[in-house]
Symmetry: C2
Subunit: 127 residues, 2 copies
């Protein structure tokens, strides 16, 4: 623990790769299946989650409270798990929280163009 956070919590959200907690169980790159990924992305709420991650700050991991979704917490947990098990997102255990980010490189390697489609998506009603 060389990084002392004492004052100025500032950003410090992305530690060095060596300090990262192990990702939760997820499919390997070669195991990604198009039909599964598309199924995970066929839900408007999950599409909104992924899009927000892509557009607003892909560089960081975010816990589900960051998204501002007015759904019960248990529903959010369900959807984040669905995204992770499909291979769309990666989740790490940061102490108490589980933060997520999109596996952009993996997705682009296996399904080039798919991430761009999600980023360009427009929600049904909201802006």
């Amino acid at each position: 623990m060389s990084a002392t956070v004492r004052q100025a919590p500032v950003v410090k959200v992305v530690p060095e790769p060596e300090n990262l907690p192990e990702p939760l169980p997820e499919p390997a790159v070669g195991e990604l299946r198009l039909e599964t990924v598309l199924g995970a992305l066929s839900d408007p709420l999950r599409l909104r989650i992924v899009r927000k991650l892509l557009l607003e700050s892909e560089a960081f991991d975010h816990s589900c409270g960051w998204f501002g979704l007015d759904r019960p917490k248990s529903s959010l947990t369900h959807h984040f798990k669905a995204l992770r098990e499909a291979g769309v997102t990666r989740q790490r255990q940061y102490g108490l929280e589980r933060r997520s980010h999109v596996r952009v490189e993996d997705l682009n390697a296996r399904f080039p163009g798919l991430v761009d489609l999600v980023a360009a998506w427009t929600p049904p009603d909201a802006p």
Copy 2:
């Protein structure tokens, strides 16, 4: 099993635009929704249908018997309808048959790259 194509059916499968029967009810280009299209493509069987249309003969319309799928007819009807209502395929009534083709232009206009993903897809087990 014998398809008995008679003699030289040649090509001539794509008549002039004026002779085409009216397409069955389908969403307009502007009404295509990504989440709906992805949902339609999240099924392996439908993915196989679209892929076969793309790879083997996109220029023609095909009735569902052409695909060689060993499922009950009613199941096939269900899946072809799902693809059409999602806007993935267009169906026309050729006499007794309903032939389908992929709306490649519309899909590329709204979701560029998606068609390529389906064409590059590899089925779980079958050829």
